[in-house]
């Protein structure tokens, strides 16, 4: 079975995030107030073939930790998505 999966990668707490900080600084000028703690990261969508949801998630977690993030500076988490892209194939 095919499962849509989303992996999100964020910088670990304590690691400086200049991109998030830059966005946060720019917000008030654009009229957005009350937005704080902006952290920039990456997201990956994919389709994973597995026997069931649990094993799809397991596979995704392994992928997230081994490849999609650098544990020295990043945290990763995987979840089953509502709509992965490209199911049409």
């Amino acid at each position: 079975m095919n499962f849509p999966v989303i992996v999100t990668v964020t910088l670990r707490e304590g690691i400086a995030d200049p991109e998030g900080a830059t966005i946060e600084r720019a917000l008030p000028a654009l009229g957005f107030t009350g937005v704080t703690h902006v952290r920039a990261g990456k997201s990956f969508r994919m389709t994973i073939e597995a026997a069931d949801e649990a094993s799809a998630l397991e596979k995704a977690t392994a992928l997230a930790e081994r490849l999609l993030s650098n544990p020295v500076i990043e945290d990763a988490s995987a979840s089953i998505g509502t709509s992965a892209i490209g199911g049409s194939a």
Partner: protein, 758 residues
Amino acid sequence: MSSAPEPLHRALGLTDSELDEIRSVLRRDPNPLELALYGVMWSEHCSYKSSRIHLKRLPTEAPHVLVGPGENAGVIDAGDGIAVAIRIESHNHPSAIEPYQGAATGVGGILRDVFTMGARPLALMDPLFFGELTDARQRWLVEGVVSGISGYGNSVGVPTIGGELTFDECYSSNPLVNVLCAGALPTDRLVLGIASGVGNLAVLLGSSTGRDGIGGVSVLASAGFSGEDGAESLDDAKRPSVQVGDPYEEKRLIEACLELLDRGLVVGIQDLGGAGLVCATSETAARGGVGMDVDITAVPLREEGMQPFEIMTSESQERMLAIITPEHWPTVAQLCAKWEVRASVVGHVVEPSVDAEGEPFGMLRIRRGFDGEILAEVPASSLADEAPLYDRPRRRPESLDAVHADDPTNDEPEGSPNEDLLDLLIDPAWVYRQYDSQLFLNTVVGPGRDAALLRLAGPGLPISERGIALSTDSNPRWCALDPRVGTALTVAESVANLACVGATAKAVVNCLNFGNPEHPEVMWQLSESIDGMTEACNGLGLPVIGGNVSLYNESGGNDIDPTPVVGLLGVVDSLIAPPPGWAWNEGDSLVLVGTRTAAGEVPFPLGGSRWATRRGRRGGNVPPFDATTLVPTIAFVTKEIAAICAGSRSDVTAVHDVGAGGLATALAEMAASTGIGVEVAQLTGHGELFAEFPGRFAMATSNVDAFIARAVVAGVPVVALGTVGGSSLKIGTAIDLKVGDIENRRRHALEDALTSTD
């Protein structure tokens, strides 16, 4: 939305008379696929139908020209068995909607034009034009475009060694992003985009084909032409035609193609640019006078349900078409596999057909399988070379007389000229610091000075002591006042830039950015500009070896100012020491080489100068172009600097041409670059501070008598202006500024403007 269904040919951008023309070529009605092929190939962008009759006037020949206009890139013989290929192109419209990808794919496209010739790309340049930075959208565009060029150029591994940066209201809705690429090859490896040899294979290399950039042709999807599967949805038609660049794919493609060429495995090669596969197959077949069968099913696709017209016209990036002999196919496939470059045989070169008069011609056939159904069948050259040419109406703008009369030359400065000068200073370092400008260990003079200077060296090239110099220049302010003289002066400015690094100019490429050619005023500007370039190139003995025309740069009915961009390539015969820069030494004498005033004691006009433009004074006249005084001055400076590059001792310590912003700006830049001031005793008038007339040079010398004597012998006007030293820039009674303040203002001008938040 209009309700009356538009005839298909018009929806595809073809006029009724163009449809008639197609009918007479085919001697029948075209089918929708064929119509789509003509639609893209006969577009202004691909066919140059409005500009071609004018471009023919440009001088294109010189003994060192190996390939002139018409090929993917122009090529000159640079000596020592090395040829240099160069090309410039625009990517204006894509950059306006997605600045990062628009600029990035512009870089990708120009690189392919150059390595198509067998040359390894060694340098990029990026003339950029935006609206004023007080507008937040312009800041977004600048950041996007610059990071797109940086992101693609750095990653693909070609240094960006210069460019231009112009801000003017007229580019607000229509930014210009031009990119130039130069590369080098062993002269004996030159290849052309020709398909020859019946039985040869056309191999598509690189990326898979998606629906990228199927701009206008996508009407076919909504016009009910759906092939047999009818799978397309309305979404397909609305799909944005933005292309995404992949520098990693391009890098592997460059290495694979150069290795194919090195090993003699290809007969001809052609990049896929505008109009994609139909352009590459029809051009190679037309040049070779042979036919070509294309198997639509052999093209690797990235998306499902793609129809033949989409496959043939897609502008998916990072693809090349190589023509090879069948026995080389296994080796080619293996080599491509090593570089992880996809390779598929999509075409067969076939015997020419014979027309009604018994003349042979190459037929392009699009088929479903090489032996399968024929979906389209048209003479290749009718697509590639036989688009109708137009001599569109031209008219000198009626307003021009009034514009000329509104002359700022005698305007008195209001307030302090010190402030005027500080306002003119802008260091583009914020831009070029983002570009790798050093890769290949060739960059002797990088971005930020008058011209870039590179060692003529690179992987696989014969050893040489030579250098090549490059400059891009434009002056839309001049060209708005007088497109003919303005363009001629732009060429002069470029040649002067090259002289500052000791290089002798060898060849010109140009990118002609203009408004809507259906406006007679725009056609007049274009024609005048081409005449001006012709006049300057003839006067300076320069061939034009390539170019690009970008029309329809307008928005809301307003055309941009005429913006011809000149790219100039020059050669330094011996480059073993760096040329002097802008940095003079305490105690040097400052001299001005070149005429101080226009004819007699008349000051140079200030029309089109940056000084006047900043004050909102956009009228007046530009100075005349005069090759007879320019040529000896340029030759003198070139010789002085070339001697230093060749390792000779010299009393010349600094040189800078007087360009945009005039003499005051040139001196301020020199002072800022070294932290040492200068005192100039007197001036002929405030106009002399800011007048812009190319072919004049601010130079510093440690032996003013010897220097002046040499200039006099060469018959070149020269005058000692003052002495270098101290910590201020003082010019007569007009300017008195601390060098530190100049440096500070100049260095931060761009970043301050980009980070302002209003």
